[in-house]
């Protein structure tokens, strides 16, 4: 819109900013008690589009705030480098549909190594391109992490994640919070 100078009156926001705002003002009630004893480790992938490309760390800092609120500060492990200095996962710019698969995966090896280095069991990827790429690299390079959408973790922490909404959870969390009939406890 800026590029084409299309006039508009609406504001453009990221859902991550809103999650953070709602948690801060108490509208969205979350906590990390569920993970206090489990101590499952999480890391996040910073999408270039909401980090480096907007010229501020505001949204990626909000992302950390939200993730820490739902998994516990001590269970969050950052990659290095991160935020506006992160490495692109290699799935951006259309690369997932660009046809140069071997090169895309070689590109992504940098990110894969970064993820493995954190030792985290789960990678939260708030962007679809990143999600698809990071999951593909896990299969390709034989990683043992799981790739999650942010909303999955938020709902899991709130105890409202349904039985059909758990595709990306590992076996350790696949049934967490469900009763024996598959309903939410």
């Amino acid at each position: 819109m800026k590029k084409y100078k299309i006039p508009h009156t609406f504001e453009f926001k990221s859902i991550i900013e809103l999650y953070a705002q709602w948690i801060k003002d108490g509208t969205l009630k979350v906590n990390s008690d569920w993970n206090k004893d489990l101590k499952i480790k999480f890391t996040v992938q910073d999408p270039c589009n909401i980090g480096r490309k907007i010229g501020t760390n505001k949204i990626v800092d909000d992302l950390r705030f939200v993730v820490k609120a739902v998994v516990g500060e001590e269970n969050f492990i950052d990659m290095v480098p991160n935020r506006s200095n992160n490495f692109c996962c290699g799935g951006g710019g259309g690369a997932l549909q660009g046809g140069h698969t071997e090169q895309r995966r070689a590109y992504g090896k940098v990110k894969f190594d970064q993820i493995i280095e954190t030792g985290a069991k789960y990678v939260i990827t708030p962007c679809h391109n990143c999600h698809a790429q990071i999951e593909d690299m896990c299969h390709h390079y034989g990683g043992d992490y799981h790739t999650l959408h942010l909303w999955t973790v938020i709902c899991l922490a709130m105890g409202i994640l349904g039985e059909n909404e758990r595709t990306y959870l590992g076996p350790d969390l696949a049934e967490f919070g469900l009763d024996i009939e598959g309903g939410i406890q």
């Binding site: 819109m1 084409y4 299309i6 508009h8 009156t9 609406f10 504001e11 453009f12 926001k13 990221s14 859902i15 809103l18 709602w22 509208t27 969205l28 009630k29 270039c48 480096r52 490309k53 506006s84 200095n85 992160n86 490495f87 692109c88 290699g90 799935g91 951006g92 710019g93 259309g94 690369a95 549909q97 660009g98 046809g99 140069h100 090169q103 895309r104 070689a106 590109y107 992504g108 090896k109 940098v110 708030p126 962007c127 679809h128 391109n129 959408h149 909303w151 999955t152 938020i154 709902c155 709130m158 409202i160 994640l161 349904g162 039985e163 059909n164 909404e165 595709t167 309903g183 939410i184």
Partner: protein, 239 residues
């Protein structure tokens, strides 16, 4: 003072063309320090890296630049530019190389997704009716199977909703159950929102394809729908 080297033939047509389009790109300021390349995960793919690619531009190797598929391996992530001491806009250079390819020679997958987006408002080519059917169907299932959300309400194109949410088209097509968690969060915070059905895809393959006309068309249609039809105050990017 030593005299500058004089070359007999030295034409940088492509460089001049791109530099005209993006005067702030600073191509001539490259110090060849290689910071861009050292921090670029695409370096060495197809025997190319950002410094070399830029050097070729400055040496007028226009045909070689246009022929190299590295253009489509680089993701235009911007790390090179943010590390560059001279702030040279390498991503825009790559974007312009993409735009210089014949449209039908650009990668089929990206082109196909861009074409679908222009035609149906999302990269997966989901017709509007199917999108609306899918979201209503998933919402109904949640209402029926998750008692806490028996009053979950989902709307499409609701005029006057405070927020309009874009939606990556992958979910409705390949994993509709992934739509639910976000809706439930929005339900919990009592958000006033709707799904627009014009150019609703959150992805933008025309941008990746460097299809200026397509990209502009998508944006204009989307903005018109939000401003004139729905009158939403906020557009929320869900990824």
């Amino acid at each position: 003072m030593a005299e500058a080297i004089k070359l007999k033939e030295f034409a940088c047509d492509f460089k001049d063309e791109v530099a005209n389009r993006i005067p702030e790109a600073n191509f001539d300021l490259c110090l060849t320090c290689g910071t861009c390349t050292g921090g670029c995960p695409a370096s060495e793919q197809y025997d190319m890296d950002p410094r070399k690619f830029l050097r070729m531009l400055l040496l007028g190797m226009d045909d070689e630049i246009r022929k190299n598929p590295w253009t489509w391996v680089c993701t235009m992530c911007g790390r090179c530019m943010s590390a560059c001491p001279m702030k040279i806009n390498i991503p825009k250079f790559v974007y312009n190389v993409r735009a210089s390819w014949d449209r039908d020679k650009r990668p089929k997958g990206i082109r196909g997704s861009c074409d679908q987006h222009i035609k149906s408002g999302n990269a997966m080519g989901v017709p509007k009716e199917d999108f609306v059917f899918t979201i209503e169907d998933v919402a109904r299932e949640i209402r029926e199977t998750q008692p806490e959300f028996s009053d979950l309400e989902i709307t499409a194109d609701r005029v006057g909703a405070y927020m309009a949410l874009n939606q990556n088209s992958r979910e409705p097509v390949t994993e509709p159950d992934e739509l639910g968690p976000l809706w439930k969060i929005l339900h919990k915070v009592k958000a006033d929102w709707t799904h627009p059905t014009v150019m609703w895809g959150g992805e933008n393959y025309c941008m990746f394809l460097a299809d200026e006309e397509g990209w502009r068309y998508i944006m204009e249609e989307f903005v018109y729908h939000i401003e004139q039809n729905l009158k939403c105050k906020v557009v929320v990017n869900t990824e």
